[in-house]
Every structure is written in C-alpha cells, then in structure tokens.
C-alpha cells in the first residue's frame, strides 16, 4: 500500500462508507414487496372472477395501476440486489462475474420497463374492447 497519492492510501481498505446502502436497500424493498404483494394477493382474491373484462377494468383504475407499477419497481430492485449477492457468492472469476452482473442489470431494467409500460399503456388507453 502506497502512502503518496490519495488513491494509493485508500486502496485495499474496503468500502468508502457505502457498504450499508446495498443492505438497507434490500430491506426497504423487502418491506415494499411485503406490502405490495399482499395488496395484489388480496385484490385478486376479492375480484369476482378472472375474466378479461373484469381484470382489464380493474387494472385500468389509477388505484390499481399505480401500486402495480410501484410493485414492479420494488420487486425488480429487490431482484437486482438479491441476485447480485447470489452471483457474487457463486461466480468467482472476475470476467465471468462482470458478464453475469451485466446480464442481470439488463434483465431487471428491461423486464421492469416492459411491465411498467404495459400497465401504463393499459391505464392510459383504457381497457381494449
């Protein structure tokens, strides 16, 4: 470890006080997931039936579309954090780890964008006949 330049002094010393963020974010999104998936399960149970007409009218309401979008954000954020730890535990070679984490990030952001777009399109354009 060097003692000349700034970077030389901090190399190898571990985190720069960001160490807790990943952990805290995982818990915050976990609480979000608990609330929002409970809401989804409860909503589905009380729906009179699962016909397209019923479900489409239900999802088009702001009071449903907004929590659905929030749920997708909370879940995919949680997925990113959780699977990142999984990859870091099992993929040890640096190049492979970088590649798998890249794929993971593309997956969660792409899948979340797709889901949010579907809900927003549906809510904004109304239930298709």
């Amino acid at each position: 470890m060097g003692n000349g330049t700034g970077i030389g002094r901090v190399r190898g010393l571990g985190s720069a006080k960001h160490g807790g963020k990943h952990w805290i974010d995982q818990r915050l999104t976990a609480i979000g997931n608990l609330l929002l998936t409970s809401w989804l399960v409860f909503s589905l149970v009380v729906l009179p039936n699962m016909e397209h007409e019923t479900v489409a009218a239900w999802l088009a309401q702001p009071s449903v579309a907004v929590p659905m979008i929030l749920m997708l954000i909370s879940i995919f954020w949680h997925v990113r954090l959780g699977l990142q730890v999984l990859v870091e535990d099992y993929v040890h070679e640096d190049g492979n780890k970088f590649a798998v984490l890249t794929i993971l990030n593309f997956y969660v952001i792409g899948a979340a964008a797709f889901g949010i777009f579907m809900v927003a399109k549906h809510a904004f354009t109304g239930a298709p006949a």
């Binding site: 818990r27 976990a30 609480i31 997931n33 608990l34 998936t37 149970v45 039936n49 699962m50 397209h52 007409e53 479900v55 489409a56 999802l59 659905m68 879940i75 995919f76 997925v79 959780g82 699977l83 999984l86 899948a111 797709f114 889901g115 579907m118 809900v119 399109k121 549906h122 298709p128």
Partner: protein
C-alpha cells in the same frame, strides 16, 4: 504444491447436522431465484395479456389455467407444465414471503435463541405450505372446472 488430504481444515457447512434453520436459509435463496425468473416472467406475461386484449388473455389462460375441453394432447401437456410451474412459483412466493418476514424480525435482533429460531423456521414452513394449499384449492375450485 501437493496438499495433504488429511491436513486440518476449518469446519464448514458439512460438519453441522441439518436443521430447519439451515433448510430455510438456502430455500430463501432458491425460491428468490425462482421468483425472480419464472415468477416475474409469468407476472409480466399476465400484465402483457391484460393490456393486449381478450385474445392474448385467453391464450395466457389456456396455458396457465385451463386449456379447455377441446385441447389437443400437446395443449393439455403444456397446460399441465404451466400448472405445476405455477404451483412451484406459488409455494416459492409464500416461502420467500414468510421467510422474508423472519429475516426482517431477525434484523431487529430477535429470534437468535436456538429454540426460538427453530420454532420460527418451522412456522415459516407450515405457513408457506398452508397458504400454498389454500391458494391451490381456491384456484382449482374457482377456475379449473371445464
């Protein structure tokens, strides 16, 4: 350098007797992976089907819920594949859900006593299996009749 296979090594996972707390720990990870992939793909498929219209929704239902009485053998097989997958995802959801509550409580510093820890672990298994059973019965009684 050749390693002496009889060298002293520090105790690792293999030296412990399996208990419910160990099973629940690795299952939290496994079910999390299942939910992140199969679970979320199914949810997105469902949202896409709702937003796209009755035909896309009927197609989703014919795979995930009921292929109908006029289904070919392949359609029935695909239907059963997705039904079993859905059952697995449902159990994964409740297992991860209750196991997650246990983790949040343990993050508060509670539940580290051996007997308490074992009791909570067993409760998570019971709660997850019960919730999965209730959901399966509810779905089967409401939506699976031909």
């Amino acid at each position: 350098m050749a390693q002496n296979p009889n060298r002293p090594i520090s105790p690792h996972i293999g030296v412990y007797k399996w208990g419910p707390h160990m099973a629940i720990s690795i299952l939290h990870r496994a079910t999390g992976f299942a939910l992140a992939t199969a679970g979320m793909m199914t949810l997105l498929w469902w949202l896409y089907a709702i937003a796209t219209g009755p035909e896309a929704y009927a197609s989703f239902q014919s795979y995930a819920v009921n292929a109908g009485s006029e289904a070919t053998i392949w359609q029935s097989a695909a239907n059963w594949f997705f039904r079993l997958l859905a059952l697995g995802v449902t159990w994964s959801f409740f297992q991860h859900f209750f196991s997650g509550i246990r983790h949040l409580l343990m993050d508060l510093g509670a539940g580290y006593e051996l007997t308490t820890n074992k009791t909570w672990s067993l409760l998570v298994f019971i709660a997850a299996l019960s919730a999965t059973g209730i959901t399966a019965l509810l779905v089967a009684s409401r939506y699976m009749g031909n």
